[in-house]
Symmetry: C2
Subunit: 150 residues, 2 copies
């Protein structure tokens, strides 16, 4: 199967606001006032959590279909703590991102407890966003100047 | 400084569509038709990329302010490849998430090349989403049945 490429492109609209596009979808990302923003949109780590929850939903449904059970109800909550000191340049004792994540899943299916356990185990392992959060991902940076300046 | 908690909560609206909320912000996440969805919104990994780009914008601006330079222009594009075979249950030879990420940054500031280099290096290390993607994050799962079923 061929690989799928996903991308975002966009620009800084202010010190906290980013306006970007993924395919035909527009995204605005901002920070709450406590972090210097105008609170006009969800902040970056909330986008991360939204992607994670959305991903678990898709994978739970893919795996349930394989097992042959029906999901009647699926509620997903995720939260985590961030110490903003590294991000703000106050201290680098603790990591800058989520220190850990707590995923709460409320699940009702028409399957047996054994089938539900199979669903839970397989879904977690096959969720792309779970993979990128639980495991390291190589990241390449390329920094250029705008063409207009050259 | 006290830690900040961020969260999302929401429910499965279909096999591909998730409707969630972070504070006062609503999020809809779907999949393109090629992945079984209705393409009504960006997909989970696009949300992840949006959060990453938005996070880099904030951190670039925080660090530029510290260094005492002004960002005139900041364009951020991020892309990566996913092999959908593990996600879809076809094969587990390759990881399910982004295999790597490419970050392209177009930057213009009023600083010297040395100051810009300092900005680039510091911003990457202090970006929370970069941290959670580049490094492993512990994840705890708690699965329950809806109260109505008990």
């Amino acid at each position: 199967m061929s690989k799928l490429n996903f991308s975002i492109t966009g620009k800084s609209a202010s010190a906290t606001k980013f306006e970007g596009k993924t395919r035909q979808f527009n995204h605005v990302i901002d920070e709450p006032e406590a972090l210097g923003g105008e609170d006009s949109a969800a902040n970056p780590v909330e986008y991360l959590l939204a992607g994670y929850a959305g991903c678990l939903n898709v994978v739970y449904n893919v795996v349930a279909k394989e097992i042959g059970i029906k999901i009647n109800y699926l509620n997903i909550s995720i939260n985590g703590d961030i110490n903003p000191e590294k991000f703000l340049g106050i201290s680098d004792k603790e990591r800058s991102g989520f220190q850990s994540l707590n995923v709460f899943i409320e699940l009702d299916t028409n399957g047996t407890p054994k089938q539900e356990q199979e669903l839970i185990t397989k879904a977690k392992n096959r969720c792309p966003v779970n993979d990128n959060l639980a495991n390291p991902t190589p990241i390449q940076y390329l920094i250029t100047q705008p063409i207009s300046k050259n």
